[in-house]
Amino acid sequence: MYKAELVKSIINKIQQSCIEKLNIMEVCGTHTHAVSRSGIRSLLPPNIVLLSGPGCPVCVTEEGLIDAAVEILKKDIILAAFGDMVRVRGSSESISDQLHKRKNIFIVYSPLDCLDLARNNPDKQVVFLAAGFETTAPGIALAVKLAYKENLHNLSFLTSLKLMPPVLHSILREKQKKIHGLICPGHVAAVMGAGYFRFVAGEYGINAAVCGFEPLDIASGLLFLTEKISSGTEAAFANLYESCVREEGNETARKIMMQVFDIADGNWRGIGEIKESSLVLKEKYCCFDALKKFNIRPHKFADNMQCNCSDVILGNIMPYECRLFGKACTPQKPAGPCMISSEGSCSAYYKYWEAGI
């Protein structure tokens, strides 16, 4: 039996089993895109609503940090960042808006690429805009450690590293949200362990499953959640991505991460401050902190986005319910980070909405 047929069979079973309206949150932006791309969203019965979540690093990076990067770029430095980070606007400008000023901006795939940049340009300051969640944090920590070991003092890091559980606590505490199930990020769990998300069932009585990103993974996850929710039994948690996710996760990666970072309060774009939700450089590595090196203090902004990205990532509305979606906000002229980011919900809905999926 081909995988596509299996997915359809699973969706058929979901349609037979589910009798009431269910809201299931796909926490990770990569899951949102996978659901859209595979067509699963269009196959689900209308009573199953998939809500977007806050798992998009570009979408939740605070405006003040983008502004800090733009400010640092006024000096003759090399700025490196992951792809989408250069396109998202801070309070007014994006990093890519600086291109016409002949600024040196490098898009990198790996944080370790910045070490090469620093080694190859010893007379230049290199700043890496290090954004991500727990999946990316260990690689960034490794880059910091290697920079320290090699005395690469022309390299510094502008960090926007966020943790999943605190923002999920923040969302799930609002009982009126009525989220009945959670698809948990598979690759965050690969690093942190399956048990990292067990609290969703244990503390909030909400069924949750760690899932992979293939259509079969997602369909199986949805089947698990809908069957558990429909049964009315005690909330369950399951690791459905056992090939990549172990209960204990990757202890080596976590150890390196916590050797380099401390946990601190974090500022989330569109959400605000969340206690103990971000990773910041330890004192030992403070010389690699770009904010300290360039003496910049990021401003905090109230949610001033004209679009409804904050409601989208909190699962309050669907992307197409934003008044700007598809009209004043498109991938060609994005109004907010959810349309800019390749993991943003709005970009997923727009890309596959046009295709009729």
Binding site: V58, Y109, D116, T136, E242
Partner: protein, 97 residues
């Protein structure tokens, strides 16, 4: 993977290796290991990957790669839940033949 800075240049795009999404990780099989780095076969393409985040990387290990680093070893076992789902559907398929 090195980056070459040319005076006056801007927005030099380094060759991406793998998925376009920031949180996505791709599986690969280790072909060779040299201290902190390994050559990993990802869908037939060899990639240079840092393996310092996993324990005792060895030739033949399947790993999950994210942002140029192996972040976890992949078990060759199938998902237990997925396996039961597949078994059930295959049994139903056999009945319909």
């Amino acid at each position: 993977m090195t980056a070459e800075y040319q005076s006056g240049s801007w927005l030099l795009l380094l060759k991406p290796q793998g998925g376009e999404y920031m949180c996505l990780a791709v599986p690969g099989i280790i072909v060779s290991v040299n201290r902190a780095w390994a050559q990993v076969d990802v869908m037939g393409v060899l990639n240079t990957v840092n393996v310092q985040l996993v324990d005792e990387p060895a030739v033949g290990d399947y790993v999950l790669i994210h942002a140029g680093c192996a972040i976890q070893k992949i078990s060759s076992d199938n998902f237990s839940f997925l396996r039961s789902v597949l078994s059930e559907f295959l049994r139903e398929e056999e009945k319909n033949v």
